[in-house]
């Protein structure tokens, strides 16, 4: 059966093989030793577009999607409103079917939008320079740690214990290559080692609390360590940017800026830092220049840091990044703009506080921390969170992250601007049943 993805006809192929001077396509594979030619390989039989579409639609239907459920799950990936313009703009195939803009003359779209992205990330974080993006927030944090190691020539990476544990694990994976030592620093920072390359802090913390970044900066800088802040970009719609506290490198998960969660990927690693570290930045950077006629234009620049030029001495091995997700972030930030992002942040803040105050008013429930928070907070529940989450799920609600490994009956709840009052009330109502249950069954 002819394939829609192979434009050549049998006649074309025959003519081409004749011109090449072989009688059979197998001759072109003559360099593969006979013993390695695949005899058989087994895959499901081919399917047509309508058949497979129906099958995949059914497969997708086996997943409980966040459009159909009320979602109070965050923990690094957040469900925010995505204006339709974002999807339409990144859906322009001139953008999404291009590759890395090596040929600047026909890649000004990708290059200029990347320059916009870099600018917007700098405006948002307050940092001086940004790269074109990393794989995700956790790998951006890991690359920041490696950069701090290069800059300070110190081998110890200090991670505040309130950082997302999965981020910590990724940093550990990346640190393994260079045998760097990971140090977990409890809150209070008294045990920060004097020979640390950097202190990595998350703001808001994994458990939602707003950390004292000023103190983190004083302590780390006092010891000659860099301060790396993992940010939640939407929170910067209202919170003071990390730069104000003296952050040296700011990283973060960019998914919340205009991209769906998509089971956690593709997402986007934000990476911004002080200008003096420019030559140690991993990944691509776009710069503005002029063409031979003096017209402005954009190019990939400072490429001598990168693997395709510096090879084994490159600042990172990253090549393909998350360009399309960075484009989505640029369109999103432009659409929301000055007032919109603030509005989103404030809606998250107020709705989360409404939910938190209602939940902490339920018998048996309490907030684990008294610190200020943004839109995520840890709750101590009267029953195991797994059980509560099952009940929530039956009521069309995806509950919070089960923290019972670290906080007894703890659950991390997240509220965004997309959670309606009805959804929050439904959450409270189901949680309340466990309050009743605990009253009726005091043994629980």
């Amino acid at each position: 059966m002819p394939s829609p993805y192979l434009p050549n006809t049998d006649a074309d192929r025959a003519a081409m093989l004749r011109d090449i001077g072989v009688s059979d396509v197998e001759e072109l594979f003559q360099d593969i030793p006979r013993e390695f030619r695949s005899a058989s390989f087994d895959l499901p039989r081919p399917s047509s577009e309508p058949e497979l579409k129906a099958e995949m639609r059914a497969l997708s239907g086996l997943n409980a999607n966040l459009d159909d459920y009320a979602c109070f799950l965050g923990a690094g990936f957040y469900r925010h409103f995505i204006p339709s313009v974002v999807g339409h703009m990144i859906g322009r195939s001139e953008f999404y079917t291009a590759y890395t803009p090596y040929q600047a003359e026909v890649s000004q779209g990708t290059l200029q939008t990347t320059y916009e992205y870099q600018s917007l990330v700098c405006q948002l974080t307050g940092m001086e320079v940004s790269n074109a993006g990393m794989y995700d927030g956790s790998t951006a944090a890991a690359e920041a740690a490696l950069m701090a190691n290069r800059l300070t020539e110190r081998d110890r990476i200090s991670v505040l214990s309130t950082v997302n544990p999965r981020y910590r694990e990724v940093i550990e994976t990346y640190a393994r290559g260079h045998d760097l030592v990971l140090e977990d620093v409890p809150p209070g920072l008294e045990h920060l080692s004097p020979d640390s390359a950097c202190l990595i802090v998350q703001q808001p913390s994994f458990l939602g609390c707003l950390e004292d970044l000023g103190e983190c900066a004083r302590k780390s800088h006092g010891l000659g360590a860099l301060l790396i802040v993992i940010t939640y970009p939407v929170s910067l719609g209202m919170l003071r940017p990390p730069s104000d506290y003296g952050a040296d490198i700011v990283v973060g998960e960019g998914q919340s800026l205009g991209s769906p969660i998509s089971f956690g990927g593709p997402v986007l690693g934000l990476f911004a830092c002080r200008r003096e570290y420019l030559r140690q930045i991993p990944g691509r950077i776009v710069g503005k220049t002029t063409d031979v006629e003096g017209s402005p234009g954009y190019v990939l620049t400072l490429a001598t840091r990168e693997q395709h030029i510096r090879r084994e001495r490159a600042t990172s091995n990253i090549c393909t990044n998350e360009a399309l997700i960075a484009l989505a972030a640029a369109v999103y930030l432009a659409a929301l703009g000055k007032a919109g992002l603030r509005r989103v942040a404030e809606l998250c803040y107020h709705k989360a506080h409404y939910a938190a105050s209602k939940i902490s008013g339920l018998k048996g429930y309490s907030l684990v921390y008294q610190q200020p928070f943004f839109n995520e907070f840890a709750v101590r529940c009267p029953a195991p969170p797994a059980r509560i989450n099952r009940a929530l799920f039956e009521n069309g609600v995806i509950g919070g992250l089960d923290l019972s490994g670290t906080v007894e009956n703890g659950m991390l709840l997240c509220v965004t601007e997309l959670n309606t009052r009805q959804q929050i009330d439904r959450l409270i109502e189901v949680l309340a049943r466990f309050q009743m249950e605990s009253e009726n069954e005091p043994s629980l």
Binding site: R279, A303, T304, I309, R310, R313
Partner: protein
Amino acid sequence: MNPKEYKYTKEHEWVRPESGNRCKVGITSYAQHQLGDIVFLELPAPETQVKQFEKMGEIESVKAVSDLFSPVTGKVLETNGAAIDKPELVNEDPYGKGWLARIELGRISEVDSLMNSDEYDRLVAGLGEQPSE
């Protein structure tokens, strides 16, 4: 052509002896042409001890990074701040304003063993591609 009073290495660095046991070093016209537009210089800090034919820095063009080798052994006295700020000086005037470092010689005899300009001219001629400038 390459200045008569300078000495040269096979790696296309030059040495210009100065009064006392000091010298200036830089890269040759051939080298700058091969590199293309130079955009960044990484030079050793003053007081750094450098060894003859060992790496003392890097020169970056738009799409290449090249090691810079010291043509002599000694101590770096100063580097050319003007060229660090404007690396194009190395392209425009490699033997003059585009010098890279001033070095206090550890072993004066090393300079004598380097190529003179005639020898270096012949080396470059043998490499084929001539600078078009």
